[in-house]
């Protein structure tokens, strides 16, 4: 028996006739996902840890005996606060993103809530979009909270409001968006959140290592060995197709803003478009995979 006869039974066709288009359904699902998400103990735990690390960053320099050159004070303490906060936001932000993206759909399958929801006049893509939107609400809220704490920690140190943090946070979000959408796509094939979580971590790690494929291409290009050449072509192909999360390093660069930095305004819209392309691809893949699901 083919999958199609199961995924589109006559009963579903009858139900779909009474569904309302519009965005109230997805929005309601998004709000529900948001409410459910912020109650998750794992996420709250990650958030608390990130808050502790960000606020604790100001104490890290206490371990250093001397941060001055002779009688001149240096900016080491501010730098360390920035580095720790940026890393904390990256680590805890991506963990929250992966855990929430990986769990929203499988959790509803596991506790059978999805059957109740899909029995309502709502299409699968609307349900999926609502879930995806809810995930993004959670990710954005967490990111904003961490960024605000970061800004406070930095302000307490330097007495200057870090206005460029906005652009850094924006780019961080688009990096998370790529990981989130691809993890979300994987979660649509699974009934448990374990596999999508592992996949999400893998996506994040490999996305950060894409840059090294270029080095592989360069190294293999210096050899005439057939195997090396093939490896080079494969690496080159993967480098072009896979999302390169290191492209978003601009978020850190903006935050430090070295005086020898090139103009960055041209890169920001391109990075946003880049993030949106892969995020949309991830969502459409999720849609495709979810349609195949027997529910």
């Amino acid at each position: 028996m083919s999958a199609e006869t199961h995924t589109l039974p006559a009963a579903e066709a009858r139900r779909s006739a009474g569904r309302t288009p519009g965005w109230r359904g997805p929005l309601a699902i998004a709000m529900y996902t948001w409410r459910e998400g912020i109650r998750k103990k794992t996420l709250v735990g990650f958030l608390l840890l990130s808050v502790l690390v960000i606020l604790g960053s100001t104490f890290m320099t206490a371990f250093m005996a001397d941060t001055s050159v002779g009688t001149v004070e240096t900016d080491v303490e501010s730098k360390i606060i920035k580095d720790i906060c940026v890393s904390a936001i990256s680590v805890f932000g991506i963990l929250i993103t992966i855990f929430i993206s990986a769990s929203v759909v499988p959790a509803e399958m596991e506790n059978k809530v999805i059957y109740t929801v899909l029995s309502k006049p709502i299409r699968r893509y609307q349900y999926l979009f609502g879930k995806f939107l809810g995930v993004q609400f959670i990710v954005i809220a967490n990111l904003l909270l961490m960024s605000v704490l970061f800004a406070i920690a930095l302000y307490a140190k330097e007495r200057i409001f870090p206005s460029l943090l906005f652009w850094s946070t924006l780019l961080t979000y688009f990096q998370f968006l790529i990981v989130s959408s691809l993890t979300f796509a994987v979660s649509c094939t699974s009934t448990s959140s374990v596999l999508p979580t592992i996949a999400g971590l893998f996506i994040y790690i490999s996305g950060n290592l894409t840059e090294y494929l270029k080095d592989v291409v360069n190294r293999t290009g210096q050899s005439e060995d057939l195997f090396q050449t093939i490896v080079g072509y494969v690496a080159s192909g993967l480098f072009r197709i896979l999302p390169n999360l290191r492209d978003f390093d601009l978020r850190t660069q903006i935050l430090y803003l070295q005086p020898n930095d090139p103009p960055v305004d041209v890169q920001i819209p391109n990075l946003i478009l880049y993030g949106l392309s892969f995020a949309a691809a991830g969502y459409v893949l999720a849609w495709f995979l979810f349609m195949r699901k027997e529910l």
Partner: protein
Amino acid sequence: MPSKGRGFRYSLLLVAAGLIALGSVQGSRLTRMREIERFYRWALTAATFSTFGESLEQEKGEGAEPMDDELFADVVALAETALPDIEVGEGDRDAEGQARPKLIRAARQGRDQEIYDVLASPEGVPLAERFAEYAAEDRLLSVGTQFAASQMYQKGSQSQGVGLTSLFFGFRKLAANFLWMQVDAAWHSGQMHRFLPVMHTTVALDPNFVDAYLLGAWHLAYNITAQLSDTPEPQKVFSPKYQRRLGSKEVWYFHAVDFLKDGIRKNPRDFRLYSDLGYAVYETKLLDHANAVKYLKEARRYKHDQWVPRMLCLSLWKNGQYDEALEGWLEYQKQFPASTQAARFIPINTAYLAEAKSDQAAECAKAARAAAALLTAKAADSLSSGDGTTAEKLRVEAEDAEKVAQQMDQMSAEEWEKAKAIYTEILAKDSSDSLANARLSRRAGLEMARQARYHEAVAYLDVARNQYLETESFYEFSDLMIDLKLEGGLPLAVTEQYALERRREAAAYARPDAPKAKRFVECAYALPEKANAVAVPGAAH
């Protein structure tokens, strides 16, 4: 119905593939932008170093032929045609007075957007591709970890224990911080064997960690050397790389120089690196005033702290550029009218300028008198050989030389009176002012020597140099004593013979383009050669 569903699903797959393709295209655009960004950063660094007259290929090894200088020449050629007119500003001329290339002028004037546009233009892209190609082949010696993480796997870095795990997920900066804390701990526990490699790894991981460069250089130039004793001059070894005789302390000073220059290569617009290199190392430790001036001038070009112009003025003064130092102090006083430093150093520099003019005019007078004597002797020879016309011509020339000598004597006296008035005024306020006392004593010694009272002059200067020991006059007086002893044919002490020998050795290694003492008075007649008194910064000290 099922077939329609299948078709829709496959069309979704196509849409997803299309979106990935769009992302891929966008990714390629971003990759190209980042390559151009690296190229731009490199061009800025290269422009900065060529301003200092330094080659980009300083550390040539056994690898493939480096391409830095050739590629930079092509970038300069492109910028020459593609950049709009760039005005020739302060410091935009080389030693010969020629305007520097447009790219360098644009980089120095902060016209970043225009440089970026040229490098990102269709004409610039082939050069950016060549840059990426050479960098991938490790043929650019001026490329560091700020451009390519692969540079960290090179031989030098491997020995410093940089692991792949440190580079994961873009947390290089955080890893650098933790390493830096290790540097701090290693330093305070006296573990020098750990301190140095970890410090280098720290900046390899985070090339923009300017404070690590500053603190590291401070440890190298000050804290490590504080535990070392001075190397006796004969035991110092000449270093062709630095063109200096190095003892154990000087080796560390130059480690600090190299470390800070590495920082400049990666952060070419951070004033702190230039000012530390110029003042803390070259000026204070190596007594190399010319290089101190060079780097402090560069520090002043960027957004800087208030003390940078002051340090520059001090280095200009010590380097004998009294007119520029005076100009700098006057400018500083305009900005900070309450400055006590400006109030002190404006009269001092005015006096030094007058004194230098007086000394140089005296030298010119001496040269003119020597020329007059020679011409008179030649005229006598011509007359005795019956060539009356030539003899008359030579006699007139000798008279002219004598007139020039008198004018120079008068100028020397007038300029000294100006200087003397200032020193006297300083002493009227504070009779113990060692600087003013030292200058007056120096002049008194020179006056005695002028009257051929060499023994007296040397004895007077010997007393004065010890009396005003807190000033830097000690070395100047010691050198002057040697010169006067040589001039008066007096025997040299053993230490003076050593000092003279060191001068000769240094002169043998002196670069032809080494900076010469600034002249404020041009002599009409050639000055006598002083082969044994070649001034190489710090060499005689």
